[in-house]
Symmetry: C3
Subunit: 262 residues, 3 copies
């Protein structure tokens, strides 16, 4: 059985400092629902977001960006084409890119696209338990875009997926796990209120991309992004009365953590 380790405070601090100092440019190709929160999360955490979506310029922009996010939430044929061009540009210069396989396992056409993206070897796949179980061939589908499985149940699937594909897999939930197929880092904490604010998961994938842009270890970078989000969620939960006030408090908390690492 694998040994599950915690992310050290030292590694977290180092990864955060690098993010804040580098201010990486993150090319976000994400769904229509979470564009604003994704940009706001990156800005609060110290990164620089840009959403360039058209096939005429997605490769050009990927070529000058520091990391790329591919999120399939509201894909269309046009958007897929632009995403493929951006991924090609990213792979050409070995730039890290993150795949967020929203609702994997529910819809055949989408699953085809996700399988194709997976074959292009993302640096990291970040998903919920139902999504990761499905990618590992063990899925039974979530409740729409929400998971019906626990992250603990998906850990073995995440490890198998990481090993087979030679990538890092992050499965998030009550406890988050990040694995490269050998090592496993776990991140506890957070708050359930984050599940009632749309885009906390999707924007987390963008944050993973930002951290990967300025740290060589995608495992540690991803774990640091998840850790930052978990801590910000805890801080926000103490300041809020519901999901409405949680949202701005979460952004304030990310900003505060970033400021502590200048």
């Amino acid at each position: 059985m694998q040994t599950v380790e915690n992310l050290s405070q030292e590694t977290f601090d180092r990864c955060c400092q690098r993010l804040v100092n580098a201010r990486p440019l993150v090319h976000c190709m994400t769904n229509d629902v979470v564009q604003e929160i994704t940009a706001d999360v990156l800005l609060a955490a110290g990164a620089s977001p840009a959403m360039i979506i058209d096939e005429h310029e997605s490769a050009d922009f990927a070529a000058i960006a520091d990391a790329l996010l591919i999120n399939v939430g509201t894909i269309t044929e046009k958007r897929l084409c632009a995403m493929n061009l951006a991924i090609e540009a990213a792979n050409k210069k070995s730039m890290p890119w993150v795949l967020d396989p929203v609702a994997s396992g529910l819809l055949p056409w989408r699953d085809q696209q996700i399988a194709h993206f997976l074959s292009l070897r993302p640096t990291v796949v970040r998903g919920n338990a139902s999504e990761i179980l499905n990618l590992a061939g063990q899925g039974k589908g979530g409740h729409g875009v929400d998971s019906t499985d626990s992250s603990d149940d998906a850990l073995q699937a995440a490890m198998a997926l990481a090993k087979t594909r030679g990538i890092v897999v992050a499965v998030t939930g009550e406890t988050d796990f990040v694995t490269d197929g050998e090592k496993v880092l776990s991140i506890a904490g957070g708050d359930v209120m984050s599940t009632l604010v749309v885009g906390t998961g999707c924007s987390l994938s963008a944050l993973v991309a930002a951290f990967c842009a300025c740290n060589d270890s995608a495992l540690e970078a991803s774990a640091s992004a998840l850790q930052m989000a978990k801590r910000a969620s805890e801080m926000a939960a103490q300041q809020s009365k519901g999901p409405g006030s949680f949202h701005p408090a979460y952004l304030d908390a990310l900003y505060q953590i970033a400021r502590e690492h200048v």
Copy 2:
């Protein structure tokens, strides 16, 4: 003349309890402006939103959803095609769907699409007074997406529309009215600040869809959704200093009302 009744507290509580317990999956095909607030409103109120927009998968997703929202705010030809497929899937399994005829009466092409959707017999049409007057053939157009008529003035038009089409019509404004052409339920209250936050109307249509998913009477379900929004607006107005702080307070209030009905 019709008798206008109030929604009973008992019916409201029952409808809310069903929503919170069922956590219905609401397929939202809505405009680009209100995606986030629509998802956040559904999550706060206890439902589960998903925005699947492409023609390759809109019917597949409608087939597994519990209700469907069609909002024409930023329609394109591609989006219309995907909407038609989703409606077909919804009608096939007699799943409730709600039509939000944004800016009806202002633009010829849009009015053609709205007329077509109306002919497919939505469970509920939810609009402002100018929109509903126009659908009933008595319109003179609003001020952009805002109404220039009062909901009282649109009540007769709403009843005629409901009767002719065999649907439920909800006309919202200072006082909301819901009618099936025979009975009329009215919902008073709310706060004018909600008109200064984009998407409070559009997300209300999504909430109507969520309530319809778990209650047989579309009349009572719709009235309960409007009631929940009116009460949340009142609560939010007391907590806020302007439209900026009203938005998170409104989501917190919806969440609080939902929690009271677990």
Copy 3:
């Protein structure tokens, strides 16, 4: 050398009063990321936003609107086509329109489109220093969508651009400048926190359009919009702990300034 003047309180008050009383209908054709904040800023400030994006109806809507915003943040071929039709309708009736040249200087295809829009003679171009320097042929490109130049450095370029094109140019940053090529108005103040909330710049271009709709002098109208935003930022900064709480506080402040001018 040019003389730089401040906007007088009297002119600001007059422009604000006209905005609040006229409640202009602003046709926003903007990017996918900032739709919500753009609508919310216009509503808070006393204007009426509508986002009509398709080529079947963009000209029809421009024909009934009071001002038009063209923002190229997430352009696609379809969207460009609809934008051109709207601009044609705007120019036909001499309605003011504002061009926001997001990320000008970074991507060849985008720069072609921006150059084309510029040739159609917008009433106002509103951009950051890197964008304006590029439009004046002196650019070296920004960091993604963010400026790497100061607005002071771009003032000469803004004046040259305004003079050559016969338009008003607003370059925003730590200090904002508005010029018609002869006169220069400067607006100081604001708060750096606004740079950590996505869409504060894009929504400012929409606000410029709203002010231009009800004031004959595009120079004074633009300066008043920038002044309103600067003051709202200062007020919001005092109420907030980070970019999360800044966002609602900024909208509340715009609303408060608008209320003072009823």
